[in-house]
């Protein structure tokens, strides 16, 4: 049956729009070296490697984990490559956890990355195959109409998205690795930024980043042998639904709600809002915060924005959301989900530095991708159960 698993250490790169100082391997290695050092685990103790990243067309390398085998120290070891669209970083964490929970391995390295500056992610996303509808609206154009639906359905006031964006950018300023670090960002500044995809403004969208994240996971013996504080994985969860289908709820997708319900049950959490001390939620557009608060069960449908408005999701609030600055501050697509998972572990091990949530003992890491189609999440805590 299921073995206990824990995060022994995490590492990430300094995320930037262009990490022109490194190769793809160098980018990954920067995160891996930090994770191994944080976990105090030598590379030869790693039993297996799980690599996650978003579409291969972003870097123009087919299955880049093949070429990366040497640089990642994977030669002679098992190596898996996960790809579940934007949720892939989360799925990478879940698969790595499964390797330990299944009793197959003792220590596993999860690595996720994106080097968007190798190409132009918008190019790769906007390839229009023959006969398909021409791209009408770019990246934000897919999500902005659903945000409008959320606003209509919930009656949320116009400034909620700007509150989220200002909070996450200010949080990013506390995170030395964040791409955007804007300590003086305010709701007023966000509201004054250009309207790109009405109702979504410029400062309400995520940047495009180069970056990587690595996480060292271990079994119970490895966790207990560690001199470092570890983050025990209480539960993981993944759910998928079709990209589009008749009756799809784009505001409150059932795959996300089902994944969350399964997660809370497996983690023994009956009141997420009371029992989760910090949440790293995949918020590439500011309005996703209230939407996902509802989808995850932190708030009733239509009520998530009230938590944001009341300041509950600030780093000092009752449910700090994205104390790291989140996707709105750094978005190396393939790594963004694993960053959420890693940051949740950093919170419960007290390693989050200036963006540490005081006294955090139980935290959520969350990712989603595709057309709100793939969801992956985990709960970590400072004790095994």
């Amino acid at each position: 049956m299921k073995q206990r698993a824990a995060v022994l250490g995490t590492g990430q790169t300094h995320h930037r729009s262009k990490r022109a100082d490194v190769s793809i391997a160098g980018l990954c290695r920067e995160a891996v070296d930090r994770a191994l050092a944080d976990a105090d685990v030598p590379a030869d103790q790693i039993d297996a490697i799980v690599v996650g990243k978003a579409p291969d067309l972003f870097e123009g390398v087919m299955m880049p984990e093949l070429y990366l085998a040497d640089a990642l120290g994977a030669v002679g070891k098992p190596l898996l490559r996960v790809h579940t669209a934007g949720s892939v970083g989360g799925a990478t964490g879940v698969v790595a956890a499964s390797l330990i929970q299944a009793g197959v391995h003792r220590r596993v390295l999860a690595v996720a990355f994106e080097k968007q500056s190798e190409s132009n992610a918008m190019w790769a996303l906007s390839i229009t195959p023959p006969f398909s509808m021409p791209v009408l609206a770019g990246a934000g154009g897919y999500f902005a109409p659903h945000i409008r639906s959320y606003i209509r359905r919930s009656g949320a006031p116009n400034h909620i998205g700007a509150m989220v964006a200002a909070k996450d950018r200010r949080n990013g300023a506390r995170n030395p690795y964040a791409h955007l670090r804007q300590a003086d960002m305010t709701m007023e500044k966000v509201l004054a930024s250009p309207m790109l995809w009405d109702p979504v403004r410029y400062d309400e969208t995520c940047p495009s980043s180069d970056g990587a994240c690595a996480v060292v996971l271990g079994d119970q013996a490895a966790a207990e042998a560690s001199d470092q504080p570890v983050a025990w994985i209480r539960a993981t969860s993944m759910r998928t639904e079709p990209t589009m289908f008749s009756g799809k709820d784009n505001v409150n997708p059932r795959a996300g709600a089902d994944a969350a319900a399964a997660l809370w049950e497996a983690a023994g959490i009956t009141s997420p809002r009371d029992q989760i001390d910090a949440a790293e939620i995949y918020v590439p557009f500011s309005w996703c915060e209230p939407m996902w608060l509802e989808n995850l069960g932190f708030a009733e449908p239509g009520q998530g924005w009230r938590m944001t408005e009341a300041g509950e999701t600030e780093i000092t609030g009752s449910l700090p959301v994205n104390p790291s600055g989140g996707v709105l501050s750094s978005n190396p697509i393939g790594a963004s989900g694993l960053l959420r998972f890693a940051e949740s572990a950093m919170q419960v091990t007290g390693k989050a530095g200036e963006h540490q949530v005081a006294g955090a003992k139980t935290a959520l890491g969350h990712a989603y991708g595709g057309g709100s189609q793939y969801f992956s999440m985990w709960v970590v805590a400072d004790t095994p159960d």
């Binding site: 049956m1 299921k2 190769s23 978003a54 579409p55 291969d56 067309l57 972003f58 870097e59 123009g60 390398v61 087919m62 299955m63 880049p64 093949l66 070429y67 990366l68 085998a69 040497d70 994977a74 030669v75 002679g76 070891k77 098992p78 190596l79 898996l80 490559r81 996960v82 790809h83 579940t84 669209a85 799925a91 879940v94 698969v95 499964s98 390797l99 929970q101 299944a102 009793g103 197959v104 790769a124 996303l125 390839i127 195959p129 993944m238 759910r239 998928t240 639904e241 079709p242 990209t243 289908f245 009756g247 799809k248 059932r254 795959a255 089902d258 994944a259 595709g370 057309g371 189609q373």
Partner: protein, 357 residues
């Protein structure tokens, strides 16, 4: 450790040019129907789904996201995807069963290799800085490997042709094969080289196809299948990407995976060898030939005809495991091995050993 068995397998016929889309739905719907029919399961019985496919095979980003339409993935499903052959999707599915999160798990792989120029697309698997910019194609890379073995005296062009002859002959009874027939090594060796020392018969055909395998835990497997193929070893490893720095005449990753999985006991093996000489490398790496590292007879190799008779990328490795499992389910073998490979020149190898109850 939880007992897990293969209880179902179906595959699409390998075709040179399938009319299907690159999202696989048209190839997957019929084989899901077939495997559910054979096992009596429905989609609601599947606790975990995992697929393998490639965006570069399809020529566009997120090419796999529509494949879940073939499942009918609502209500939502527990599901994952690897950018690898479906054999590794099966590995992830096996993990989920071992964790106790799933009792029934389904893995599928699909690929429409004919959409692009496969041997050129695969050049993008090479080091993107110092090798891929030269666009070395996958057939030429394999040819470099084949010559090394020939000149080291490890195999001959005759040995390679005999692999092709046996494979095509075996495929005569395989309705899913793309190539089959009776021929002779002498006949094949009269053909010209396409990449010296490789001739056409040394190379797997370009194939479109899909495969699906269902796993079940001990308590469920025996209900679903008279002779489940119990997984007794499931291992994979990767070798260096540096073609000029590793010994291409062997596959250390296959040796290690085979040893860990107990490959040497197999009575029959389905090897994912896209080139004739790679079958020879794999037989030796896995200890399947009669001789030094094996008592008694050698294992029967590729009774389906193997990848040389149909190599749908991202499904062919999974199909090898399914075909090996079918040897057990049908009673033709008690210990069977399925193998999958990925990457240039057998860089990555997976071995799944299965046994009869």
């Amino acid at each position: 450790m939880t007992d897990v068995a293969v209880v179902g397998f179906a595959q699409a016929r390998s075709e040179r040019h399938s009319p299907a889309t690159t999202n696989g739905v048209e190839m997957l719907v019929p084989i899901f129907h077939e495997v559910f029919g054979a096992t009596g399961l429905t989609k609601a019985d599947v606790d975990f789904w995992c697929s393998g496919s490639s965006d570069y095979l399809a020529g566009r980003a997120f090419s796999f996201v529509s494949a879940v339409d073939a499942i009918g993935a609502f209500p939502p499903v527990m599901e994952s995807h690897v950018e690898m052959d479906g054999a590794w999707a099966l590995y992830e599915a096996w993990l989920k069963v071992l964790t106790g999160e799933a009792e029934i798990a389904l893995a599928y792989g699909f690929g429409k290799s004919s959409a692009g120029t496969l041997r050129r697309v695969l050049a993008l698997q090479l080091d993107p800085y110092l090798v891929a910019p030269l666009w070395p194609d996958s057939v030429s890379i394999a040819a470099l490997q084949a010559r090394l073995g020939i000149e080291a005296g490890l195999w001959s062009e005759q040995d390679m042709a005999e692999v092709a002859v046996r494979s095509r002959s075996s495929a005569i009874t395989n309705a899913h094969a793309q190539l089959s027939g009776s021929t002779s090594a002498a006949e094949l060796l009269c053909e010209p080289y396409i990449a010296d020392p490789l001739r056409a018969h040394d190379c797997a055909p370009v194939s479109d196809g899909a495969a699906v395998v269902i796993l079940a835990t001990g308590s469920r497997a025996s209900e679903l299948c008279a002779r489940p193929a119990w997984i007794t070893g499931f291992e994979h490893r990767i070798d260096s990407a540096s073609l000029g720095a590793r010994d291409l005449t062997t596959a250390p990753s296959a040796v290690a995976a085979g040893a860990a999985a107990g490959a040497g006991r197999a009575q029959v093996a389905e090897l994912h060898a896209p080139f004739t000489h790679q079958e020879i490398i794999l037989r030796r790496a896995l200890g399947l030939d009669a001789g030094n590292d094996r008592s008694g007879d050698g294992a029967r190799i590729n009774p389906s005809g193997g990848a040389l008779c149909g190599n749908p990328m991202f499904a062919a490795g999974l199909a090898r495991i399914g075909s090996a499992a079918a040897e057990i389910m049908s009673g033709r073998a008690d210990v069977a091995l399925g193998h999958a490979t990925s990457g240039p020149a057998l860089q990555q190898n997976l071995v799944c050993v299965m046994e009869a109850p």
